[in-house]
Structure formats: C-alpha cells, structure tokens
C-alpha cells in the first residue's frame, strides 16, 4: 500500500510536470488553489468511499444525498434566526438519517449495491420535490462564505478539506470505528464472532458516509450559489474512481484516506490541466478512463508481485 501510494504521488507529480510543460498558468499559486478547491467535493466523497469500500460495501447514494441535504437544509432555514447553524445541522442530520437507512438495510442482508441504488433514486427524487425541481437561490452569506470565502488568501473549502482529511485519517487508522470498518470488509464472520456489532456499525458507517456527502453538499452549494436538486449527479462514480485510483481495493479490508485524496487530486489535476491545455471534454473522459485502468492494472500487477514474495 505504502509503495503504491508513493508511486501514485510520483505519478501525480509527473502529471503536473506534463501540464506545466504545456501551460504556463498551470504551475501558479492561484491555479494550485483552484485545483485544491475543485478537488474538495469529490475528495470528501472519495474519503467516504474509501471507508465504505474498505468495509466491503458500496455507497451509490452520496451524490443524491449532497443534493437532498442541501436542498432540505436551505428550504427549512431561510427564516431561521441562526441560518448558518440550522443549515449546517439540518444538512448533516438529513444525510446521516438517509445514510443510516442505507446501513440499516445493508445490515439486514440487502446488498449494498441495491440499497444505495434505491437511495440514489429516492434521495434525488425527494430533492427535486422539496425544491420543485429548481435550484434554490438566496443562500445565507455564511454559507456562501463556506464555498467562496478566503482566509489569509486561501479558499475556505481548502481549509475544510484539509481538516476533514486529517480527521478521517485519524478515524481510519487510530479509532475502533475505522478499524472495525476494515475488519468487516476483510472477514465479516470473524468480526461478528469477535463481538463487533455489525448491524449497528453499518448504520454508523453509512451515516458517516452520508455526513461527508452533506459537507460536500455544503461546499458545493456555497460555491455555485444555489441549493441545486441536480447537484452531485454522477459524483458517486467519480468518487469511487478516485478511491480506486488511490489504491483502495474493491475486495475490502484495505483503505487509505491519503490514497483517496491523491486519487481525487489526480482527477482534479487531469480536469484542470486538460482544460487549460484546451483539450475537448470528450478527450478528458477518455483520459480519466485510461488513468483508472492503468492505475488498477498497475496495482494488480504489484499486488500479484507481493503475493509471490
């Protein structure tokens, strides 16, 4: 894992070198901040996905939960005396409840793919209902600050992103919550027989994934000025792509927050670099696909290599 991450990092730097070779703008401080800001939403979802995939599961609902939580939160806090707090809490609670439902169902033997696919559709539908299908404008300034504000010249989303990276890294490596998530993905029977309460854990795990989606939703709406029922469409797949590029194996038991972040950065650099170099969006999709397959093939080859040692 560690060598793989090292190589991924080298890959990322290499990608940056190529981009800076083709565009003078690429390797500038403002563009660096652009890339970090742009990677925050997908990055947060990718971190969630690394926990979930590490547990042997899948969460396809995160993109929809971004939309649902932000739409509901804004609709119900417009006339609040504490719009910021209320939006924040509602956002987290809505997504945590929806995620908890995912976890509950998965704990009752409904395949994660199906439970969260259902939630993907359900949450998107609810978001459209609560917003009448239209973006909700007129956000409190404090929410706009989350997406657009700057502190000592650095965009607020970057601070939030970094804070959550640190939090989640510690959560995964240094708390029972993180460890049990991986144990469940590694050998669910062993985890159950060792006394881990699987059903309860899954509820918290998927609620946690939902809450990361809610934070992503907050950043999203702050950035684009609106609580958009169409927010985050297909983000779940991009996040899973980033997580896999970051070295998390789909078979569970292994995950890395840093890897997920590297994966998100690679995606973000690709998008930013290819845009600056004026590569049409069709080719950008091709590039993302190639990077995914190359990264996984490489990991596969390296994995096979390690197993024969």
């Amino acid at each position: 894992m560690r060598t793989y991450l090292g190589l991924m990092f080298v890959g990322l730097l290499l990608l940056c070198a190529v981009c800076s070779f083709l565009s003078d703008v690429f390797l500038t401080w403002p563009n660096f901040l652009n890339i970090l800001t742009a990677s925050a939403t997908i990055g947060l979802l990718a971190i969630g996905a690394s926990f979930i995939i590490g547990s042997g599961g899948l969460d396809l609902s995160v993109g929809s939960l971004m939309a649902l939580s932000s739409v509901v939160a804004i609709q119900f806090s417009t006339h609040s005396p504490f719009p910021f707090l209320q939006t924040l809490c509602l956002c987290l609670v809505v997504a945590a409840v929806a995620g908890g439902v995912n976890g509950f169902l998965i704990g009752r033997k409904i395949p994660a793919f199906i439970a969260t696919l259902g939630m993907l559709s359900l949450a998107r539908g609810l978001a459209l209902i609560f917003s009448n299908g239209r973006p909700v404008y007129g956000l409190p300034d404090s929410i706009l600050f989350l997406g657009q504000g700057r502190v000592i010249g650095i965009p607020v989303p970057v601070f939030i992103f970094l804070g959550i990276i640190l939090f989640c890294h510690v959560l995964l490596r240094h708390t029972k919550f993180g460890r049990y998530s991986l144990m469940i993905g590694d050998n669910v029977n062993a985890a159950r027989n060792a006394g881990i309460r699987i059903q309860r854990h899954l509820i918290w795990l998927y609620a946690f994934s939902g809450m990361l989606a809610a934070v992503a939703g907050l950043l999203f709406m702050g950035r684009v000025n609106a609580a958009d029922p169409n927010a985050g469409m297909m983000y779940e797949l991009t996040a899973i792509t980033a997580t896999i590029i970051g070295g998390t194996s789909l078979s569970g038991g292994k995950a890395s927050v840093i890897g997920a972040v590297l994966g998100a950065l690679i995606m973000s650099v690709l998008q930013n670099g290819l845009t600056l170099v004026n590569v049409p969006s069709y080719y950008q999709q091709v590039a993302v696909g190639i990077v995914l397959i190359v990264a996984v093939a490489f990991g596969q080859w390296r994995g096979g290599h390690a197993a024969t040692n």
Binding site: S23, P135, Q148, D228, N272
Partner: protein, 317 residues
C-alpha cells in the same frame, strides 16, 4: 524508490528547461463556456464559435461540459479560464447563479463578459456584482409567438406540450404561443412532457383519443413534437398539424418527409457567429449595446425548403 525520485526530478528539470522554448496553449483572446455538446444544439454552437473565430483570426478556447447539470464543473472551468486572462469570456451558465463568484472576479480583472443563449437574468447578475456587456440569444417569447403566427387564421382544438416546469425557456415559449394565438383556436390541454419524446407521445395519444377532433399540437421543442408525430402516426391520424421548436436535424428531416408540419428554428450557428462578431466589435470600440441582442429565428416548413431562397437557411443544420 530512491532511483525513481532521482529520475523523476531529472525529468522535471528537463521539462522546466524545455518549457521556456515551447509555444504554450495559454495565449487566447476569447474563452467560451458552453453546455453539454452531446446535445446537437450546443455542438452546433461550438462549431459556430470555433469556425467564426478562425475566419476572423481570433484565438478561442471552447470549454464544454460532459453533463448539462454540472454546475460545479463549469465553475471550475471558469476559474481556470480566469487565469488565462482572455480579453473576453462568452458563457452560457448551467443555472442563473453558479458562475456568480467567477464572473465577479472576471469583472474585477476587466474581462469582457458576454452571455450566450440568453438565459441569464440581467438584474440578478448585477446584484451579484458582475458586469455582463450583453446577451446574445433567441427570444423565447418571440419563438412561441412565431409559432402562433404560423397558425394565423386556423381554427380548432389545440394541445400544448410543455417543457419541464423548471425551464424558463419552455415557459416563455408557451406563454408567447398562448398570448398570440388566433381567436379561432382553443386550448383543450396543456401538459409538461419534460423535453421527453416518449412522454410527449403518451400525452398526445391519450388526448387525441379523448378528443378525436383535435387539430393542432404545439410542442415546446422538437423532441417532444416528434414524439407527438409518432403517436399520431401510430393511431393513423393524418389531419393533426404538429409544430415544434428548434429546427433540429431530425425535425428538418421529418418536415421534408411531410410528417412534422413546421418547426420554429433557433439558429445556434448564427447565434455563435453573432456572439463572436459582437464581442470582437465591442472589444475594439467599447460601444455599449442594448443588453438583449436577439438572433433572428426562422419558421421552417415544407414550403420554405421548396422555395429554398431564405438566406437564413444556410444556418439550418
């Protein structure tokens, strides 16, 4: 690992040395942000922008989306565009506010902003602190009105197929149609089919079954109009006239085959051409224009194609 790092650093330094001498993709006059080019309307717009710029010797980058609802992706593109310091940005926002923060920065950097496709609200943009020079697009109310005028003097029952209730364009088209409809026409149903062909077909079938004397279907875009055409053919009804909007390739084909009666064509290629020309002129003389710059529209039917003399026909793709 060590070796890898060294060879990488070597590569990096080579890249830096070489990058001094190579032509970069950064120098650009205009950057255009448009929607999803898998939609023929935006593909034609992209062609129009690029070809016109080329003819006029203007350097342009066109950034398009992979998903028409990707408001954050477009914001990222806009932020990237700012760093290239173009003279102008031509944009068609995903929704009326998603580019707000970026447009404000563009205004601070004195980059000329031009809206394309006319979806933004002038006042809202001003409120958000950005200065958009003008907006090039079709007048959706006029489009609906044109469709109504096409039916001048006709009588009978009308079915209106609307776009999604969230689309201002769709609403304006229907409004333009209804407010200018001839006295002899009565609307018996007006239902949204969300730009969807199948939904439009279903609505048409059920309405025409209840009202066999239906004489006209007006749909807020061609996709839905073609759905209505199919539904009527399936029921073997030939007496109902169907009018759509957009002048898409499929619609043109259908008109030529005598199935679709007419389509009020928007001319995205012309819109793109006008946008480039007007932006270029504005960059040169800085003469203020009225905010709304409307692009001509053209009603297409079999007769128009037979005469083949309208100069606007060259922009129908």
């Amino acid at each position: 690992m060590m070796q890898l790092k060294q060879s990488f650093l070597g590569l990096l330094s080579v890249a830096f040395v070489m990058s001094g001498g190579i032509a970069k993709a950064d120098q650009v006059d205009i950057i255009a942000l448009i929607s999803d080019t898998s939609n023929p309307y935006w593909k034609t717009t992209e062609d129009g922008l690029e070809n016109t710029a080329k003819e006029m010797g203007i350097k342009i980058n066109v950034y398009s989306l992979q998903n028409a609802a990707d408001s954050e992706g477009q914001l990222n593109q806009c932020e990237a565009a700012l760093l290239k310091n173009p003279k102008a940005i031509i944009f068609s926002p995903v929704d009326s506010v998603n580019l707000g923060s970026c447009l404000r920065k563009a205004t601070e950097k004195k980059i000329v902003l031009v809206d394309i496709d006319g979806n933004i609200d002038e006042n809202r943009v001003k409120e958000m602190g950005s200065d958009v020079a003008f907006s090039v697009g079709s007048n959706n109310y006029e489009i609906g009105k044109k469709a109504a005028e096409y039916l001048d003097g006709q009588t009978g029952k009308v079915l209106i197929i609307e776009g999604p209730s969230s689309s201002p364009n769709g609403l304006f088209r229907v409004q333009g149609f209804q407010e200018n409809m001839g006295k002899g026409l009565t609307v018996i149903a007006s239902q949204p089919a969300d730009w969807d062909r199948l939904k439009a077909a279903d609505i048409t079938s059920s309405v025409v079954t209840k009202n066999p004397d239906l004489s006209i279907v007006f749909a807020a875009n061609d996709t839905m109009a073609l759905g209505a055409v199919e539904a009527l053919r399936a029921l073997n009804i030939n007496s109902v006239k169907v009018i759509g909007i957009d002048g898409t390739v499929d619609a043109v084909q259908s008109i030529k085959e005598g199935r679709l009666t007419a389509s009020v064509a928007q001319l995205p290629y012309l819109m793109a051409k006008e946008a480039i020309k007007k932006t270029d002129a504005f960059l040169k003389d800085r003469k203020a224009l009225p905010f709304r710059q409307y692009v001509p529209i053209l009603t297409l039917d079999q007769a128009v194609f037979e005469r083949n003399d309208d100069p606007l026909l060259q922009y129908v793709r």
